[in-house]
């Protein structure tokens, strides 16, 4: 009940229909908390059945045993010991899992830095330089539409550009800059990072833009009036106020890249190992407990990263 209604109620009780006695008079009326349950319950059930319980199963199955063709529901640490095989014996050399995670973290870091840079400036342009609401809407939509189209198509779209005989290579050869087509353009770490940036910068742009449009323009004017340069305003006013968006965007990008196996698979020519790809490989070999153990490890690492980042900002307050 808002203020005006409260005042009205005090002035002449019973004036507002549906409040006080009028509401109590209807015996069939459902209680508000019951209605809330009816409204929110179905979504909660979907998350319970298809997200929370499955996560519990991942954790349980990661401690099960397995043979060549089936799950054996008996406690075993084999999923984990298989995963960390050689990690102590091979020291000081790194074992496969450690190498894979290092590689994934490296990809993650590269993609994070690049998407943050692009996302920040795209959002900055939209929020501060585009003055008309119509243009702001139109240009935001322009950035969003690719998000509604297929990721795989946006990956294979690079093939005619980056392939051996692709536009980039043939252009470079024609101009005489190189003699032979560059091999590292496609099915390489380069193309993986390029495709990830291409696909997921959107997840940076949206939250950063959201934070930036909420910044009171008079704060920026005040900074200028107080003699701050453009750069000082950026560092001391805009970036701190856009921080929630930056953190939320970073969480999205980092978790997506940490768990990615499709982009890394398609753009890496199925040759690059990554945290998500191990899980896929184990599933394809029907080694479910090992797959689940890897999923738990990935989950823990992702969770640690998110906890670290959400220390910086209260996510719930920002939505």
């Amino acid at each position: 009940m808002d203020m005006s209604e409260e005042v009205l109620q005090q002035a002449s009780p019973g004036l507002i229909p549906g409040s006080g006695t009028a509401r109590a008079a209807k015996p069939t009326r459902l209680s508000p908390s019951f209605i809330s349950w009816l409204q929110a319950g179905p979504m909660m059930l979907v998350f319970l059945a298809f997200f929370l319980i499955p996560l519990v199963f991942v954790i349980i199955v990661s401690f099960w045993d397995y043979n060549e063709y089936q799950l054996l529901p008996a406690f075993s640490g084999r999923g984990y010991t298989d995963t960390f095989e050689g990690c102590i014996a091979q020291l000081p050399d790194l074992c496969t899992i450690a190498k894979t995670y290092l590689k994934t973290l490296k990809l993650c870091f590269l993609v994070w830095v690049i998407t943050l840079f692009i996302g920040f400036w795209v959002a900055y342009f939209l929020a501060f330089h585009v003055k008309s609401k119509t243009w702001q809407m139109g240009l935001s939509l322009l950035c969003t539409i690719p998000f509604w189209t297929s990721n795989v198509i946006r990956m294979i779209a690079w093939i005619p550009l980056l392939g051996r005989n692709g536009l980039v290579n043939s252009g470079l050869v024609k101009t005489g800059l190189i003699n032979h087509p560059l091999e590292w353009l496609l099915f390489s770490e380069f193309s993986v990072v390029l495709a990830l940036v291409h696909l997921f910068t959107f997840f940076m742009v949206v939250p950063i833009f959201n934070s930036m449009v909420r910044i009171d323009k008079s704060l920026i004017e005040a900074a200028y009036d107080a003699g701050a340069t453009g750069f000082q305003t950026l560092v001391n006013v805009i970036i701190p106020l856009a921080k929630p968006g930056i953190v939320i965007g970073s969480i999205f990008v980092i978790t997506i890249v940490m768990g990615d196996f499709i982009t890394i698979g398609v753009m890496g020519g199925q040759q690059i190992a990554a945290a998500g790809k191990i899980i896929e490989t184990r599933v394809n070999a029907l080694q479910f407990p090992a797959a689940a153990a890897n999923a738990v490890i990935l989950l823990v690492i992702t969770f640690l990263i998110i906890t670290m980042m959400s220390r910086i900002v209260d996510i719930k307050k920002e939505l």
Partner: protein
């Protein structure tokens, strides 16, 4: 007089244009290449212009049974869209009041959005395998599987679309004026009437936006479907399967057709939203506009 724009405007405008080109350029390249002549290859230059590769897909001489995958994806997309809209609007309404388990639902949605898709997908597949084993052990030895497009597949897609739906509902009700609804109730409307005749018409454009997210995200979904869809494939899964054996432009043709559906849905949704907004502006309240 109009003030001149600062130099940073032009620098960033060029940056933005370059980003847009980066976003759309490659996509446009494959749309063009799918109209290669019959002798054409995977890259430029075009070797004639034809609808050969697209026609080839429709003839079904391609590598996969496209028609079936197309219908499956369409069916799943429409169901995911409807369920996402209904559940998101309902849950969004619930969040306007305080209720127990509010934060559990909120954090479930956020977690579902950011837990890597492969983990969710693996979890659903394990859950259904274990259910299958239980059924086989206790009830029916000949039971095949409970995994499928509209069981585990639908659930997997919903874990991806519902968080978006819920977040859009939050955005809607952040700028919704509750006095409109109170006014309706003061005039004697039942809660259902207030929702049906006041709240719903106002939020309808954004609700269509939720539907747009629901359909397009499901239509293109890959990571969550990968382990949880069961024996059959959706269109994006077939497309991904083709990427390992790319030899001729029919993969581009398939990409173009999938995108054509996406763009048709996007246009339809945005057109409807635009129309509704215009109608709201024309027929909406004239409060505060004076008597003249």
């Amino acid at each position: 007089m109009k003030e001149g724009r600062p130099r940073s405007f032009y620098v960033l405008a060029i940056f933005f244009a370059a980003y847009t080109l980066f976003l759309y350029g490659p996509m446009i390249a494959i749309y063009v290449l799918s109209f290669q002549g019959p002798q054409g290859g995977l890259t430029f230059p075009m070797n004639g212009v034809s609808t050969f590769w697209i026609a080839k897909l429709f003839q079904g001489t391609g590598i996969v049974d496209l028609g079936a995958a197309f219908r499956r994806s369409l069916l799943l997309g429409v169901i995911v869209m409807i369920v996402t809209v209904v559940l998101s609007v309902a849950a969004g309404m619930a969040f306007r009041r305080k209720f127990k388990a509010q934060s559990i639902l909120f954090y479930s949605a956020i977690a579902s959005l950011i837990v890597p898709s492969i983990i969710t997908s693996l979890g659903i597949s394990l859950e259904f395998r274990i259910i299958d084993d239980l059924i086989k052990a206790h009830w029916n030895e000949n039971f095949e599987t409970s995994m499928g497009l509209l069981t585990s597949g639908l659930g997997a897609h919903l874990t991806w679309t519902l968080p978006f739906g819920l977040l859009i509902m939050f955005a809607i009700f952040n700028r919704f004026d509750p006095r409109l609804e109170e006014a309706a109730r003061d005039l004697g409307a039942t809660p259902w009437q207030a929702f049906r005749h006041v709240v719903l018409p106002i939020i309808l454009p954004s609700v269509i936006g939720i539907g747009l997210f629901g359909f397009t995200l499901s239509w293109d979904e890959l990571a969550r479907s990968s382990q949880a869809i069961g024996a059959v494939n959706t269109l994006p899964l077939d497309l991904q399967g083709l990427t390992t054996t790319v030899t001729n432009p029919d993969i581009y043709a398939l990409g173009t057709i999938i995108s054509a559906v996406s763009f048709a849905v996007i246009t339809l949704a945005l057109g409807t939203i635009h129309m509704l907004n215009k109608r709201q502006a024309a027929k909406g309240s004239d409060a505060g506009k004076g008597l003249v």
